[in-house]
């Protein structure tokens, strides 16, 4: 056996090391987002520094400053978000009679009253972000763009319960009972 053979033989254990497999790969040493973090205490996924904006994205203020154009897509998105985050308490139609309220949560104000029909959009944007009375802030669950969509849908709900028959398109008016 020459020295070259010996050198080759020495590579064998190295190759075996490189193929290490089994439980070590199933439970790798990298931290996963919601695992507890031992050094800093808390979850491994940290909150971004306040005011952090992703590259190319608008800041929350830039999104909230300009009212988006009201489109059927915006309203449909607003309806979906409303039914996820708002309807449990405010009810599907916004009367403040959601399932959680029927189980003992203090009833929120109905959207169908003059005070809220006349309230500016900014009022709803602020309440979604910061909460109001017993209502917790929803700012982290409903991002700024979605808040506009929800407000648009609240306006549609308000109109649905407070519209003049004369203001309806002719074909819809004919369908009225």
């Amino acid at each position: 056996m020459t020295l070259r053979h010996l050198r080759r033989a020495a590579l064998v254990p190295l190759v075996l090391l490189a193929t290490a497999c089994g439980p070590d790969m199933e439970e790798q040493e990298r931290p996963r987002p919601i695992d507890p973090e031992p050094v800093l205490s808390g979850p491994t996924s940290r909150l971004p520094v306040e005011g952090t904006v992703a590259r190319g994205e608008k800041t929350a203020w830039e999104v909230l400053r300009d009212r988006p154009e009201i489109t059927p897509e915006l309203l449909a998105h607003g309806r979906e978000r409303f039914e996820i985050y708002c309807a449990p308490c405010h009810g599907i139609a916004g009367y403040g009679d959601g399932l959680i309220v029927r189980r003992g949560f203090p009833a929120p104000q109905s959207f169908h009253q003059d005070r809220l029909r006349e309230a500016p959009a900014g009022h709803f944007l602020a309440v979604i972000a910061n909460g109001f009375g017993a209502m917790f802030p929803y700012g982290d669950r409903v991002p700024p763009g979605d808040r506009w969509a929800v407000v648009a849908y609240i306006r549609a709900l308000q109109l649905s319960q407070h519209a003049e028959a004369a203001a309806l398109p002719a074909d819809v008016r004919e369908a009225l009972p």
């Binding site: 790969m25 199933e26 439970e27 790798q28 990298r30 996963r32 987002p33 919601i34 507890p36 205490s41 808390g42 979850p43 979906e80 039914e83 996820i84 985050y85 449990p88 399932l99 959680i100 189980r103 003992g104 949560f105 203090p106 017993a134 917790f136 982290d140 669950r141």
Partner: protein, 218 residues
């Protein structure tokens, strides 16, 4: 010279051969059954949790949308466990004295998250991303089972690679329209499957690319 084997030796030989064959077969079959059984896969077993949270109550009876609590599921790889603040959105006013909610109140007061135990634990060499599945129309109950019936949360089936591939090879029977993602009682119809096939084809979701090794193992 005396006979080495008696006539009965022939019977013994056959008996031993048959027994050996049966033993090997039963080890193979038994091993396969055991490895796929609930003892190994933990299907149906609810791990201990700091709070005995009931999806049956919250998602089933109270009809709270999945995304009310798991609110990053549409944007992120993780569906996210809710913050203590999310729990306290209701429980600041409802069941405020309940002893079993003490850990939630303490976590909220101290500003730290509740540490839950994983129910579904895929190996670290699998890169699963919730957002892309939800975006293409895989509904919650398709993978997580009848969550609205679970008083305590458990795996409804084994999350094996074969199970993932069943859908990656032909997703049309498993996906649904975007507005039915969190519908807990959604059932596909025949027309739906054909419609899914057309939509997935149009969106470029093809089994050819979804069964590459690096789709899930990176």
């Amino acid at each position: 010279m005396a006979q080495v084997f008696k006539p009965s030796a022939d019977v013994w030989l056959r008996a031993i051969l048959v027994t050996a064959a049966l033993t090997v077969a039963s080890i193979v079959v038994g091993g396969w059954v055991y490895l796929h059984s609930d003892w190994v896969t933990d299907v149906g077993e609810a791990p201990w949790q700091p709070v005995p949270f009931s999806h049956r109550h919250h998602a089933g009876e109270m009809e709270i949308d999945c995304r009310y609590c798991h609110y990053t599921v549409e944007q992120s790889a993780q569906a996210t466990l809710p913050t203590a603040e999310t729990c306290m959105t209701c429980h600041s006013k409802v069941w405020t004295e309940a002893d079993m909610l003490r850990p939630v109140r303490e976590a909220y007061a101290e500003g730290r998250p509740l540490v839950w135990n994983r129910v579904v634990n895929v190996p670290d060499y699998v890169y699963f991303n919730h957002a892309i599945h939800v975006d293409k129309g895989v509904g919650c109950t398709t993978c997580h089972g009848p969550i609205q019936e679970m008083a305590l949360t458990y795996e409804s089936h084994s999350y094996s690679m074969a199970w993932c591939l069943d859908c990656h090879r032909d997703p049309a029977p498993f996906v649904r329209p975007r507005d039915a993602l969190t519908d807990l009682r959604w059932k596909p119809t025949k027309d739906q499957i054909a419609a899914n096939r057309r939509r997935l084809h149009a969106e470029g979701v093809t089994p050819e690319t979804m069964t590459d090794c690096y789709t899930c193992h990176r």
